[in-house]
Symmetry: C2
Subunit: 130 residues, 2 copies
């Protein structure tokens, strides 16, 4: 697959794909003899994985470390697991914080809606008088 196809498929710009590769967020993508990137299944898998993790807010630095570990073979399995467990912890905390915020937003929105109702009632009473 060409970079434009991958860009299309995963909804990321070509610049971002090259940037991710440059900084080590995904392993080096294989090239055609001409030097043009030719994404294989593995490359696409990485792109999709990193997109997912980035969407969830995992920091680039940590992901770069993970990718490095993956490229060093099975001896780094423990280290990778620890890294993932730590990130999971942080993710769980972020989700909890966001859910608390969601509850709060709901309260505020309901508050505004109840104000509307009060306003409606006032209007009704007014129209009944007039």
């Amino acid at each position: 697959m060409t970079i434009s196809e991958v860009s299309e498929k995963y909804g990321m710009t070509q610049d971002t794909l090259r940037y991710y590769e440059r900084v080590g967020l995904i392993p080096i993508v294989p090239r055609k003899p001409s030097g043009v990137r030719d994404y294989d299944e593995s490359s696409c898998g990485w792109v999709e994985f990193i997109r997912c993790m980035r969407n969830a807010g995992l920091p680039i630095e940590t992901l770069i470390e993970y990718v490095h570990l993956c490229q060093e073979g099975p001896k780094t399995n423990e280290a990778r697991k620890h890294l993932l467990i730590e990130e999971r912890q942080r993710l769980v905390e972020r989700i909890a914080a966001m859910q608390a915020t969601l509850v709060r937003l709901n309260c505020k929105i309901e508050h505004y809606e109840s104000m509307n109702k009060v306003a409606d009632k006032l209007k009704k009473s007014a129209s009944m008088i007039s």
Copy 2:
């Protein structure tokens, strides 16, 4: 309350507090005759609210707009509500994405743990032979 007390209380730097006020993320904080900030209950409430929203990832631009609306009186109630509803929608989506990522992380971690078990079993068999 002084800025240092507020900074302490909410775990934000004084610089961030001043920055938030400068860009309109919180309303202007009342001052002592000397010009020093003197946070009252309302100011503290705003600081806490904004911290919460920022932690959940709501963009500063949107929050600035919300604060502006709040300062324009009750005629902006509808607009505020709409703004909050939109942000709630985006928040719900972010939470969903993060939960999907969490599931994925769990899978990966379990994968690494099952690999450990296999390794353990191999070790055990080896020790039984020797």
